[in-house]
């Protein structure tokens, strides 16, 4: 198989013939139901009920499970003749239009009416069917049966009724049932028509009997058993077949009925009717008819391949015809390896439907895939981190080179004496920039771990060269700045001495003037002291004022003389000062010596970059799940390399998720 392009699931199929298969048991339905010729019968009949003349004694009793049309029609005819009708009806019975306004009708209602029938002094009939809504048969009762039916009716009518009503004012008025006028005995177990208790079994049948059991109950010892086909009880039915019983079915619309031909019974829920010999004979004729369904064992499929029959198998919900070919769509089958995908098939094929003549299986082979929840392998992350660190360090080196370039230009401009030195620095910088450009074109993860380590060594050398260049430039700059500062300090000292010398003469002159002024004041004060004793009052006052003024002037002159003395001392010190050089402070720079403390904490020394021991795969992506590595590839072209890489990385080779 030529495999190219993306790796995708591959559809596959397989065909298996089943004609030789044998079914253990099955209900088989004939394509067309057999037609039964209607035969006149005296007792048990499914022909329409023949109308009877109204009873001569004017009394008729009837049990109605519902408004069964033939019975209502019969009662309506009796009503027209004025017959008194006594009806046993269920609660919530709705009278039919034909009897709704008939005043000669008394109904008493019970919870459940056991059957539908009519009794008159000369005749009695029961309508039969699998349910009160399906009463297609009627049974003409014998005298003993009629008597038992009346006794049963009377007991239910008088003892069990809870509601009653009759027509008054042209409508049926119901009320609570009034108490009975007498006791009516319960029909004894010997009566041919009686009620069975809850859970009572139907009468036993002699060997060779026919049994029509619409509820599906079966019995041993029955020669012909009519039970509805279904997927249940096949094991038991097979056992009956093995014992010689014929098991058939056709919906005759009868209730449970068993007959030996001479004795028999009909059961309508709890109501049991023991059949007379004539009735049992007619019942046997009915149950000896051919039937639409038959229960068989050991049915070979191939023998019925071309027939239009239906089969109801054990445990099946419905009957179905044979299926010429059954298409069985199997779930996707995962391939253990990508390379074995085209040959992948299920470990086993499921059983086909029992009624299929041939089975065709289809499925899809799917490549192995990385399990959900898998994450990229840590190897990828380690290489990514290494690449990121690589780029960062290259950036740092680039910045340092740019900084030294600026620094070098500035020094050349400021210090002409350094021009020659700057030429040497320029050559070094050019060499380092060339190495930087060479390393910038490399990616560590693209190579092997050894190649990566070599590149890292080159980077480390580049970083050291840049650091040294920057330090040398700083040292040159500081030396030039220190010489310049020395010259400036010497010039400033000479200027200050010149100024002190010029001021010293003026200060001496001012100091003498103040001395003179003090002396004059002292002399005048002595004069005043001498004049004062001889002076008059007014003169004394003038003398005191003048003395005060002189004292103030002397104090001011004395203060000024003291200040000038201090100034002269300072001028003298300046004139005698010697030159002392104060070097300028060195600029803080990146090349600061170790041990110097600073406000910003010193960064920890860089660790050496860790290079993974394994290289990344050449194809696909590496993932990990539960400590298992998966190498994910997408195309068949990657298969060869992928298998080698998976082996190297100890990984399982899988297809991409969208495959």
């Amino acid at each position: 198989m030529n495999l190219r392009g993306r790796i995708k699931p591959i559809p596959r199929e397989h065909t298996s013939p089943r004609r030789e298969t044998t079914l253990p048991s099955a209900w088989v339905q004939q394509p067309q139901a057999p037609a039964h010729a209607q035969k006149a019968s005296l007792w048990l009949s499914d022909t329409p009920f023949r109308p009877q003349a109204p009873p001569t004694d004017g009394v008729c009793i009837a049990m109605l499970q519902n408004n069964h049309e033939p019975l209502i029609t019969e009662l309506a005819r009796y009503a027209e003749a004025g017959t008194r009708l006594y009806l046993l009806t269920p609660l919530a019975w709705n009278p039919p239009d034909a009897l709704r306004r008939y005043e000669g009708m008394l109904t008493r209602q019970v919870l459940t009416v056991p059957g539908t029938g009519i009794w008159r002094s000369d005749r009695a009939d029961l309508w039969l069917g699998p349910s009160p809504e399906q009463l297609g048969w009627h049974l003409h009762l014998s005298r003993e049966q009629a008597s038992a039916l009346r006794a049963l009716f009377l007991h239910l009518f008088w003892h069990e009724a809870t509601r009653e009503g009759w027509v008054e004012g042209k409508q049926l008025r119901l009320r609570d049932a009034a108490p009975r006028p007498f006791d009516v005995p319960v029909p004894s177990p010997g009566e041919p028509i009686r009620l069975l208790n809850e859970g009572d079994a139907s009468p036993r049948l002699q060997a060779g009997a026919r049994l029509y059991a619409p509820d599906g109950s079966y019995r041993d010892g029955v020669r012909r058993l009519w039970v509805p086909p279904s997927g249940k009880q096949h094991i038991h039915l097979s056992r009956l077949c093995g014992n010689g019983a014929e098991i058939v079915w056709q919906g005759l619309g009868l209730p449970e009925m068993g007959t030996t031909g001479r004795r028999g019974y009909i059961r309508i829920q709890k109501l049991l009717i023991e059949l007379s010999a004539q009735q049992a004979g007619e019942a046997a004729q009915v149950l000896d008819r051919t039937a639409e369904w038959s229960f068989r064992t050991g049915v070979q499929i191939g023998a019925h391949e071309h027939a239009e029959e239906k089969f109801w198998l054990s445990e099946a919900e419905v009957a179905q015809p044979l299926l010429p070919q059954q298409h069985i769509s199997l779930p996707a089958v995962p391939a253990p390896e990508i390379r074995s995908l085209p040959d992948t098939e299920p470990s086993s094929f499921p059983e086909a439907a029992p009624l299929s003549v041939e089975a065709r299986y289809t499925w899809t082979a799917t490549p192995p895939r990385c399990p959900k929840g898998a994450r990229p392998d840590p190897l990828h992350k380690r290489w990514e981190e290494l690449d990121a660190d690589w780029s960062k360090r290259l950036g740092t080196a680039r910045g340092l080179l740019e900084q030294t370039d600026e620094q070098r230009g500035s020094l050349g401009g400021r210090f002409a004496s350094l021009l020659q030195s700057m030429m040497g620095f320029q050559r070094t910088q050019k060499r380092l920039a060339g190495e930087h450009d060479a390393l910038e074109g490399e990616t560590l993860s693209h190579g092997s771990p050894d190649a990566a380590r070599r590149l890292l060594d080159r980077l480390r050398a580049l970083e050291e060269g840049c650091q040294k260049l920057s330090g040398d430039l700083s040292d040159k700059e500081y030396d030039a700045e220190k010489e310049k500062a020395r010259q400036e300090q010497q010039e400033e000292l000479l200027q200050r001495k010149d100024k002190a010398k010029a001021r010293k003469d003026d200060a001496l002159k001012e100091q003498q003037e103040q001395q003179d002024k003090v002396e004059r004041c002292d002399a005048r004060l002595e004069e005043l002291d001498e004049q004062y004793p001889d002076a008059g009052k007014k003169e004394r006052r003038d003398l005191r004022a003048e003395k005060k003024k002189l004292q103030d002037e002397r104090k001011a002159a004395s203060k000024s003389r003291r200040q000038l003395s201090e100034e002269l001392e300072a001028l003298e010190a300046t004139l005698n000062e010697a030159f002392t050089f104060k070097p300028p402070p060195r600029k803080r720079s990146a090349s600061r010596k170790k041990g110097q403390s600073g406000f910003i904490p010193t960064a920890k020394p860089r660790k050496a970059s860790q290079v993974p021991d394994e290289a990344l795969p050449q194809v696909g992506a590496l993932s990990t799940h539960n400590k298992q590595r998966y190498l994910i590839i997408s195309t068949w072209e990657e298969l060869e390399v992928g298998e080698a890489e998976a082996k190297r990385l100890n990984a399982k080779l899988v297809a991409a998720e969208d495959a």
Binding site: Y86, W166, V167, E168, R180, P181, F182, D183, P185, S188
Partner: protein, 554 residues
Amino acid sequence: MKAVLTCEIPIQRFAVFAEMAWLERRPELGLLCKAALSSNRRISNSIIQQKLPGTSDTGAKNIIAWCHSLGLCDAQGGLTASGEDTAESNEAPVPEQGVYDLWVAKHPLLGTRIVAALRLASTRDQRFETIVSLPVVPGKNVIFTSLVSSQERFLLRDIPSNSGQLGAIIGKTRGRCGLRWVLDFDKDADQWQLSGALDTAVKEMKPIQHKPEHDGLSLWPLMEVWGAGPLAAFGTWSAQQRRLAVRFSEKLSAASQDSFTADYELPHADIPGKGSYKQVKLTRVPIGPASKGDAQRWAQVRLLRKLRGEKRYLSRGEIRSTFVDLTENTPLEEHGPTLPAHRIFMDWAQKNNERELFWRTVAPVDLAPSPVPEEDLRPLRIGVAAQSPAVTSGSLRIPYGSRWSMQQLVSLLSGNTSPSKVLLCDPYVRSVSQLEMLGLMVAAFRQISSSTRVEVWTRQDDTDLDKIRELTGTTPRRYQDVFKALKPHDRYVLIQPGSRQAFGWQLSNSPLHAHSVLPTPSPQTALRWKDLSGLRVRTDSLVPALRQWLGETA
């Protein structure tokens, strides 16, 4: 039966100068009069000296004279009516004289009676022109009781007058006095009483407080008089039957139909010597049918009403029994009313649109477990001699009026066996008659086998269980305990022979529903029976409680 007669009695009021006496408590005189009553009704010296020791003969004579002057005795000491009253009441009249205001009533039943008296103060107004002849003269020396103060009793001793002309000043009065006289024919007694009010006080009317009195009138002869007189308008009075024969009418109330009594109001009735009365009310007058036709209609109407009231289905036997109950021992019985035949009854109900009655009575016949005997469907005439009981091996029928002894019934029920145990299920074993019949039944069974144990299951309503236990020697059980919700309607007699198969009888009526005409019947006494039908039943058709009883005894 009662008759109530009423009338208004006019009151006259006048002031008169009279000598009267008010009865005052005088125990010493009462003592003397009591002693005289037991001694020839005479107050003698010896009696006085015995009761009042130390009294001299002269003193005794003076006492007798004083008693005479009081009216207690005559001059010789013989007790008068007043003296007898003193002996009884210890009160003696104390004479006085003056002007009195009297209220006087006059009627043939009570005579001329002072019903109230007041003393008046004498004045000098000289109103001689207002004095007129005394309109009525009350009886003298007759003790009257004031009708407005029952403690006050007095008598009129005399009315002094000039030349025998009695004068009085007539006064106006607002007083009114009514008479109500009740004649109780059932008790042959009468009682009358006055009511109203008198203006003896200035500002208010004082009510009359009269203690009832009786006249002692012979009542049934009076009824004969009325029967020929005012009562003839309603029917014919039969003095012999003491019953009014009336024509049956729908106007006769249901209560009257059932109780055979009626109330009438006579516009006017006289009682010879006792006055005339208007609007005389006669209550619970015994009545009966005037003719056979009336009796028939009466019986049918009663039956229909009874049946309409029964909110249940009734078998023909129950209807027959009901008809017998409604007619026997009633005024209807002597006319021999007839229960219509079932067919007639059914047609009548249908024609008259009696739908409920129709179904209640017709359905039990149409839907009987076994056909109703033709005899039961025929008319039933009360009082006609019955047919003989009909008996087969599995059924019995005792028609109405049959004469069978309890022994005959018990023998039939036992079926030629000697029962060791017998159970009677009968809801009603409570009346005296039923208990008497139960005693007969127990005795009859024990005449067959002296060791027969008879048990009774019955309802408890009004049932004297101790009495049943006393009769049977076993403890009766209650229906609600043994049957719970499945109480039977019919009666059952279950027989447990000593060694043979047990069996039972379902009876349409109670075997205790017979009665004897003899005061102390025996099991062999011929009894009068109501309809009773019985059917021998299979034990498996019995209700569980009865089957269980049979199982326990088997």
